[in-house]
Symmetry: C2
Subunit: 169 residues, 2 copies
């Protein structure tokens, strides 16, 4: 793996997120990684730090893991790859089973943080949560967004992850 | 001006933000534009929409304008250009004077939204605020960030602007 400029690879990250998604990884207390599929994410600069902002609903198993662990990783597959794993990780919960084991995915230890990375992906962001805030119903100013994504509440938490390192496989 | 893919130009936007900054524009009730300088910003996808997330402190004149107007624009100069205007717009308030007039900047009407654009810039994002949330002191998990940026409170508001159009001059 070689270090990359997190901005240089941004178009590929956004394209992959929008096409099939990427993996958001967190770890449980025993260091076991749990991947969930994300299709949304923001990248940029805040507090003069490079930041990857991810959105996770409080109902998700990953939510508690990221809150308690304070770290996450985003692993981005090559466009079009790992479709089945993305589908699986977007519909099954880590509360029920070990998704990495069930899928037989390869993992490699994180180099800049405690969260392992998925070996089959070719771009990796290792992040430390520096700010965590929650959306409230009155924050959503678009009625279409409210009715489409939050009909039953469960509004997303925003995890601002300082990018400790970005890697290309 | 021609329409551009907002992701394609992301590396230039981030580079310019980090180097000298860009202009965040909003309008008052009379349609008069007010530019402030920003050095931070995030781009990506949320709610399956292209989003430019900007951070503005409640004490800023722009804060009320964006809240009331519901729109903003981000105008990005060519790297190294408009240094003096960026410095001026980062230190003077629109409450005191008309910054566009004081600097003799050229403006051109927005094409997708109500906020005028700065003619001297070469990249423009026109955005509609779809979500607005505020940071609380307990959201900031990094003591360095708390003490460096929020010693007296005035924590940033997060304005999620759906990108209506991105243009290159």
């Amino acid at each position: 793996m070689r270090k990359v400029d997190p901005w240089e690879v941004f178009p590929q990250v956004q394209e992959t997120l929008s096409a099939g998604g990427a993996f958001l990884l967190s770890v449980d207390e025993g260091g076991r990684p749990n991947p969930m599929t994300i299709g949304w994410g923001l990248l940029g600069t805040v507090w003069y730090r490079n930041v990857f902002l991810v959105l996770v609903r409080p109902s998700r198993y990953s939510h508690g893991l990221i809150e308690r662990g304070g770290h996450f990783a985003v692993c981005v597959p090559r466009p079009g790859e790992l479709r089945e794993a993305l589908e699986f990780c977007g519909t099954r919960s880590g509360r029920e089973l070990d998704k990495v084991e069930a899928l037989g995915l390869g993992v490699t230890p994180g180099r800049a943080g405690p969260v392992p990375l998925l070996a089959e992906c070719n771009l990796h962001y290792e992040c430390r949560v520096v700010t965590h805030t929650s959306l409230s119903p009155e924050d959503i100013l678009s009625p279409e967004i409210s009715s489409k994504y939050y009909p039953t509440g469960d509004l997303h938490s925003l995890f601002f992850g300082e990018i400790l390192a970005a890697w290309r496989q």
